[in-house]
Amino acid sequence: MSAPQFAIVGHPNKGKSSIVATLARDQSVAISPVPGTTLENREYPMRIDDETLYVLVDTPGFQRARAALEWMQAQSASAVHRPDVVRRFVREHRDDPRFDAECKLLTPILAGAGILYVVDGSRPFGGEYEAEMEILRWTGQPSLALINQIGASDYSDQWRKALGQYFRIVRVFNAMTADFDKRIRLLLGFGEISDEWRAPLERAVHILQTEQAQRRALSARVVAETISAMIGHTAQRRLTEGQSTSQALAALRDQYQRELVAMERDSRSEVEHIYDYAHLERHENVVQLLEQDLFAKQTWSLFGLTRKQLIATGGVGGAAAGGVIDLAVAGHSLMLGAGIGALIGGISTWIGADRIAETKVMGLPLGGESISVGPMRNVNFPYVVLGRALLHHRMIEDRTHAYRGPLELNVDPDTLPRFEFEVRKRLEKVFGKLRKQEALAPELLDVLATEIERLMERGEATHAS
């Protein structure tokens, strides 16, 4: 059995392409207020690997429906012959530019496609629609009417009455704002118009739901990775001779902030990619950091060892060398060798360290004075980052491909979701470890990602005091 096809038909400018863009998750669909933008039928197959489950066909809108219907009515009055008359109309007018749109939109229907007739529920019903609906009825194909709620006004009752006379199923659907569940319900609705289409559509829905769950899990993973990296992130800078520490620290804090912002921005893009939004314009205020949130320190190091550690290492080295001498003389030196060795090792390390630290190997200094900022010690920081990420995810998950505006994420930090006590407790277990950078293990990320996924599934972090 071939995959069911659904022709999206209707008056121009009533949102046919928006519905297709939303259901096909295709940002390349041209959506324009100018009638006649869609010139040709365009197919949007839903494919699972190499198997096609259903095909949506976007069509040009009716342009001369009255004239077309009059031609058909002049051919036959018998209901039995009406589909044949429509077929003859298409055959005879295929090369007639006057009925180009009508022939194109009727072709997939005559080939067996189901009809999805789209109207704008925010505008009143008019007599000009009757010819279109009558032609579609003449085709004899299973059909469904969609009231697309484009504007604020609501004439859906009026439309239901009119559409009910021509279509067995009438649904209301807003292509711009329909969330995933509404899209799924609509697809299941397509299956209701013909029994033989039910199974493939149910399968398609199951696959889309599984894919959605996986997208959520992957997004949660990306958010968990980002939060973990942001908490543990540090920025370090080597102090050059005569450089003011305060100036260097201010520059380093700026750098640290920029790096955190970049990490968050990259994470947003990754989540958007997961949901097939490759080039989304996004407006978002950057995460704000307070000076006291950042742990800044100034250290001297050589080979990454602090001066204390270095002296201890030198001492241990000296003691080891002295110990060998002690052993060689079978302990007759009363372990003086080790003691003296430790002292010499420690002192020589102290004296020589600065000079060694300045030495460069392969262009890199071995050590010296440096300042570092981070990791983040503000306990609320991960919750702020998580709140922002959850909000972004929800907007992406609910966004449709018909909506072409930028993603507005400029939110007041005070309005970010708070987390229930139990959720916060579970999260804090992970955040605490990340903050202290101890007991780190990959499973920590799994736990955090699972927790975030739960929050995503619930739609938002619930509010609690």
Binding site: A24, E40, D120, R123, G127, E443, D446
Partner: protein, 530 residues
Amino acid sequence: MFSGRGYLEKIGGVNAFAPAACCAAMKTTVNRRVMKLKGYNAGMNRFVTLADLIDIHRALDADRSTPLERRKERDRKIGAALQDHKAMPARQLRGWLELVDLPDWKRDGQRGAQLYRWIGASLALAGLVIGWGVASAVLHYTGDAPINVINALAVLILPQVVLLLFWLLAMVPLRLPLLGGLRASLRLLNPGRMARLAAQRFGHAGGQGLGVVWEPDNAVVLAPAARWLFSLWSQLFAFAFNVGVLLAMLYLVSFSDLAFGWSTTLNLDAGSFQRFVQGMAVPWQYWIPEAVPSAHLVEASRYFRLETGAIAIEQAVLLGSWWPFLAASLICYGLLPRLLTLLISWQRFRHHLSSAMPRLPGAPELLARMNSPLVRTAAARPEAVAEVDPNAARSLEHAPVKRTRCTLVAWSGSVDAHSAIQQALSELGIEPQGLLHAGGAHSTAEDETTVEALCRQRDLGVAIVAKAWEPPLLDFLDFLQSVRKRCARGQPVIVLLWGAEVGVTASDAEVWNLTLRRLSDPNLHIEVLP
């Protein structure tokens, strides 16, 4: 209890619906590199190596610039060829490395991992030399005084046992108070530390991805692997140290004449010392009885029992027989435990590498792309759209209407009577002279009648009232052109946009302007009814 494995399977799409037909179909389309994979499958059972980790990390980084759609298609094909390894994400990732072809990336993880091998080799060599040196010092015998067995045990065995306990403290994940601090300080003593610092420093400079193990962003995923790598290095050093000690001992035993005695200031009689050494020898007493010191040997080799000066030949033979015990002690308490800790470290390091690999940033997404069906809903070909000039509306928008008398036409039932829009018409300077109907529910024949009626009033202009929210269709344009051609050749034709209760929106007006502009009619006007 949280199961990390279950999580990975879930996120990597292992449990996702997997129609068998799809995978078979994908396998037939997978590219020519599958032939290479067949050869590769034979080696799939090997452990994940550091080189693999470096390669996957760098490949995932390089792959970020590949368009998402291409990545999806490519990875699904590769995934279909690797379905047999679906439950083993690390293996699948290694398979992906074999099959993927990325610009600006090549598999040079081996080069990076080479430094780690050098570090390991250096530590092993250092252990060997130090072990040899220490053993040579401890077993130094000039013929004057025998080597003190207690001293040898204290230097060669006791520190090893203590360090082994330290290792256990550092590596076993016990959660005890104060243990964290102790562990931190123990890490400072670990010979692996300097190796790590060298790897850190030269890894970045080499640009070969060596830093992957130590990068702070990967800390959560790779911390356990890094810890065990650390342990692997230190145990390698310790194992080599024991080998060095044993080799030195065997050398000295073979090429010199060693004599042992025992002496201590502590109040330790021969019986107690014998019980002590026999206790130590319990593990091997049945296998190597000659390595268990006898009561006679213990009694005879006590320092104060020995004759001063040169040792007699019989006595020298007896005193030399301590060495099997020392060698067995070294093997039992030094070499074998270190071999065990080395193997444990090696196994744990491999395990954590395998566990970390599928959790590296970007890897779960890759696994999902490989293991889940490729769902495509977008159009397969680009769309043909009508070109619209956005500036086209301007010329009509500002065309003023002169005060004129017009016949009013209600298009598509826009108005029932001109009284409804009388006020608006007056404001526009239009004086209506009767109302005709066309379009909508009317037939084209009725349109024709309306056109004929208009033709009879050639001295009047034509004002067509249209619903602004309905776009102008070709049906409307046909009527407009018919009116123009047949009756109102030079007369103004005014399209009056009516917005009912909500009024005419700017976008509706723009749609009408853009469409009517295409007619290029200088006497065609468009007005919005107030």
